[in-house]
Symmetry: C2
Subunit: 307 residues, 2 copies
């Protein structure tokens, strides 16, 4: 997790931009070009997505440490979408961004090794080695236990295991308690175990956790419970989380979490009365403003002794 934390420190912004390209988020002129060239096809949709993503990445690469493409929004455009996903990741990495593949993969050991190779590692084809997707981190659903986590960690890359997710129904299973310990905390305890052999320079391991901004009490509780587990925090902005809600995700040094925003950044051009041509600039301004709001909140809470 050191590479991510170092980039957060350098840029001074604990925000990851989620790249979840719904077609309605993409300005008309970008889509019109793609449809004119390729018809109303998945190829055209994927081309529009890639053009949009590249412009966003250009505008964001020096103000956020990381991007997080959400696999579903690419799978939705079939293999053509997956090609745009692979090209998005390659482009983002070339610009120095840390890339979190948000795919929430999970399976038994042998199959999980295939997912790990696909998203974090390399694959050998008849003696030639290549990198299918090449992300720096993968989100993982830990319901299957160690078998679905360790193959990812063996690549030396990072993972984020779902603990307490941001959605309204997350409590149906994640809040079930055994001897006073909810399932999400038991999952968090496993993250500490899974990460024990990979604790880096900042005290955090390669086995991070996903904890939603929409549950601020659990976020603060888990921060205290899991000292070596870095948090990926979704749910900020469109899902309802605010700067005050995520302060508890950070440690006394102001580290320990990266906060995701997708819609607020991607659609900033729609809400800010921006000309559509300036969509990437609007995204940049929103990412900077969000980082400032979080940093202000952290500073205030540190200063007043709440943290």
């Amino acid at each position: 997790m050191d590479a991510l934390i170092r980039r957060i420190e350098q840029i001074g912004n604990p925000v990851v931009a989620g790249l979840d390209p719904m077609l309605e988020y993409i300005p008309e002129h970008v889509k019109a070009d793609a449809f004119a060239q390729l018809g109303n096809s998945p190829e055209a949709a994927a081309a529009a997505v890639l053009t949009y993503n590249k412009a966003l990445i250009d505008a964001l690469a020096d103000v956020v440490p990381a991007v997080k493409p959400q696999s579903a929004y690419y799978e939705r455009f079939g293999w053509q979408g997956m090609r745009a996903l692979a090209e998005t990741i390659r482009y983002a990495k070339a610009k120095g961004l840390y890339v979190i593949m948000d795919a929430k993969r999970n399976d038994i050991g042998s199959t999980m090794s295939a997912y790990a190779a696909a998203h974090l590692g390399t694959v050998d084809v008849n003696g030639t080695v290549y990198t299918p997707f090449g992300a720096d981190a993968l989100t993982v659903n830990g319901y299957l236990g160690s078998d679905c986590v360790l193959p990812c960690l063996e690549t030396g890359k990072d993972i984020f295991v779902l603990c307490k997710t941001s959605n309204p129904s997350s409590g149906e299973l994640q809040d079930l308690q055994r001897e006073g310990v909810p399932l999400y905390a038991a999952m968090g305890d496993w993250c500490e175990r899974w990460g024990a052999n990979s604790i880096g320079a900042y005290g955090y391991s390669n086995a991070g956790a996903v904890v939603g901004a929409t549950y601020p009490a659990q976020l603060a509780e888990l921060r205290k419970r899991l000292p070596h587990t870095f948090f990926l925090v979704p749910g900020y902005g469109a899902q309802g989380g605010a700067a005050a809600d995520i302060a508890g995700a950070f440690d006394d040094n102001g580290r320990g979490a990266i906060i995701n925003s997708s819609r607020a950044i991607l659609c900033a051009w729609k809400t800010a009365n921006t000309p559509p041509e300036d969509f990437a600039l609007a995204a940049r301004k929103e990412a900077v403003a969000m980082g400032r709001a979080i940093n202000n909140e952290l500073h205030t809470q540190l200063y007043t002794g709440i943290l």
Copy 2:
């Protein structure tokens, strides 16, 4: 779930063939052709996979009711692998097979809707509707609760929710008990709730469950507990489950489950001293033999009153 059950009855074989194409499972002559044409590239690997899958589908289509491609083994070959996956599904459906996409997807509601569209539904691109992958069923990890299940059921297709998985570490979280009810049973109870509005002609709903053959006691326990939940049972064969182990998955009518086998069918040509050219015939024989072993076991247990 009616379409699947009807096909099982027609064919008389409760076996689904898992299509998990590792390159080492594919006979040399199939790979050699692909590498000669396309070099040592992901395109070549994907082409070899597709040729292999089509031959298997041709040989299996009248002896098994369903096939289950495992997404990881296609993602491993990047977008080229995903193209082979889409073409495999299209080919299998054209041959009348029911297709279970084993991708264990899961996410919050809006993102889950994108996965449901990708794998079970359709997508609109500027007024033109197309089908990205087009499976009949999707495996789903239910850790996020209803939000990650209902968007799939809204398509009218089937799902299989992970309850008790076949891998060695499945108990780490799935066996945690709350007031005597293990998590896997609580997940099963949710399957009954999620499926309540889609119970079909055979008494089973569109919300099935994944329960591993490697845990026969839990399999029999869940069959009794979840009367409307159809089971997808992995772990037979290579993972250690035998015919006697899965008898408990079936109801008094000999219905209620479909048993997956991947490696034993895919690699039958390696174990049966078959010429590599006859790999598909060997797979067919293995699928028939497996169905016969299961049907014999069910018949014996029904006859002796164990069931």
